[in-house]
Amino acid sequence: MVGSILPLRLEAAAVRRGGNRLVGPVDLEIAAEGVTIVIGPNGSGKTSLLRLMHGLERAAEGRVRWAVPEAEARTRQAYVFQNPILMRRHVLGNIAYPLLVHGVHRAEARRRAADWAVKVGLGEALERQASSLSGGERQKLALARALIRQPDILFLDEPCANLDGRATREIEAILVAARDAGTRIVMATHDMGQARRLATEVFFLLQGQVHEAASGHGSLGRLATPEARAFLKGDIVE
């Protein structure tokens, strides 16, 4: 049995770009189970924090530490972008790609990709070009591609932005199934209803800092600072 790559610890970690500090210094820990929701106003650093944890941004200060060596941790996590990045291939080719990259035989990769396509509701679209999919279908494809290697942790950057209610419900069902199968979920969202439905832990970001954190079921309601309360009420918070 391979040990989990979690917990993930950020120790005074910061992201800088062009001399400006976008995030940090942040100290936090992502434990082995649950769903962490990252909320905060636009520009508060949600995306940068997720990218820092995933390794798409380098820590200009501090450290990002996994329970296993970083090289191993990098192969056991996945990321779903706000605007899904689709490869110029059909649906099956997109979903199978991470398996092929990591040495799975082509026939086996295609079989598993077809299974995942069915799981996310794209079973009828295997041979369709990814570019022809609707917004909700694109996000499902991105989810299937992210989950196909059964990552220990999945980062999602507002996966349901611009999706209708039905597509959002379907995406959430996939996320709940992934969580139940043992994948740790860390997701940035603007949808407070979604945060309420999924969160077992909440980080409220403001000006690149974790302004407040709360955990346990109903964690969103436990945010108590005036800024967090104002944000949840829908006020403009800067």
């Binding site: 798409l56 192969t75 996945a78 990045i85 291939r89 070009q129 570019s131």
Partner: protein, 234 residues
């Protein structure tokens, strides 16, 4: 005006009668140019993709030189290849001068920078789209290059076709290293140059029309085979 009409008639006559000399030099033109483009694509496309994906100290300079080499004068290339392949040159022992192989070598040198440069432009845009995904999936650099070449294959076709256009119409380099020898190294462009020198303008023009038709036919054939129009969404 009369000469153009006569040229068209000459071209039609050559094609209609399946003139043996014409068939031979057209086939040789195709053989030399297609072979050169295949080799140039095999070298230039991975080079273009590699330059798009990798960051190193002299990268900008390498790209600038590569772009500049697109305008490499074929006559100079021909002269250099001639010196390299001539009996007293370092590769003279292979006896390649005045053979189709020498013509292919010269054309590869002329075409590769063009193919690499266009491929680099195309792959650079695709890499901008794919960057975060391929990093996130933890791909190696060679896997990134392969994914970009495969997914960008329809755009890369433009690079290959541009290379073919340059190769099939090239005369300076292949004239020098091929020598325009009848039944050995004569191709359409060198035949046109010869007939023009001899004053057979109608025949030269006729061969020119055949050359243009051949280039268009190859382009249409490749577009049809690769289904670029039908698969308009990539």
């Amino acid at each position: 005006m009369n000469e153009i009409l006569e040229g068209l008639i000459a071209a039609a006559r050559l094609v209609a009668t399946l003139d043996r000399d014409l068939t031979e030099i057209a086939a040789r033109s195709l053989q030399v140019s297609v072979t050169a483009v295949v080799i140039a694509s095999a070298l230039g496309m991975p080079l273009g993709a590699w330059l798009a994906v990798n960051r190193f100290r002299w990268r900008r300079h390498v790209i600038a030189v590569m772009n500049a080499l697109m305008g490499l004068p074929p006559v100079v290339v021909g002269l250099v290849v001639y010196l390299l392949l001539s009996r007293s040159g370092p590769f003279g022992v292979f006896g390649l001068l005045f053979t189709p192989t020498a013509m292919i070598v010269a054309q590869v040198i002329v075409v590769t920078p063009l193919v690499a440069s266009i491929a680099h432009q195309a792959i650079r845009e695709l890499w901008a789209d794919y960057h975060d995904l391929l990093i996130s999936i933890h791909t190696t650099k060679s896997q990134r290059v392969r994914a970009l070449l495969w997914d960008g294959r329809r755009t890369l076709l433009t690079a290959a076709l541009a290379g073919f256009g340059r190769a099939i119409g090239e005369v300076g380099a292949i004239m020098i290293v091929g020598g325009n020898i009848d039944h050995a190294t004569r191709v359409l462009t060198t035949a046109i140059a010869l007939e023009t020198e001899k004053g057979n303008l109608a025949l030269a023009l006729g061969l020119g029309f055949v050359l243009i038709a051949l280039a268009i036919a190859v382009n249409i054939l490749i577009h049809t085979l690769s289904r670029t129009e039908r698969a308009s969404q990539w």
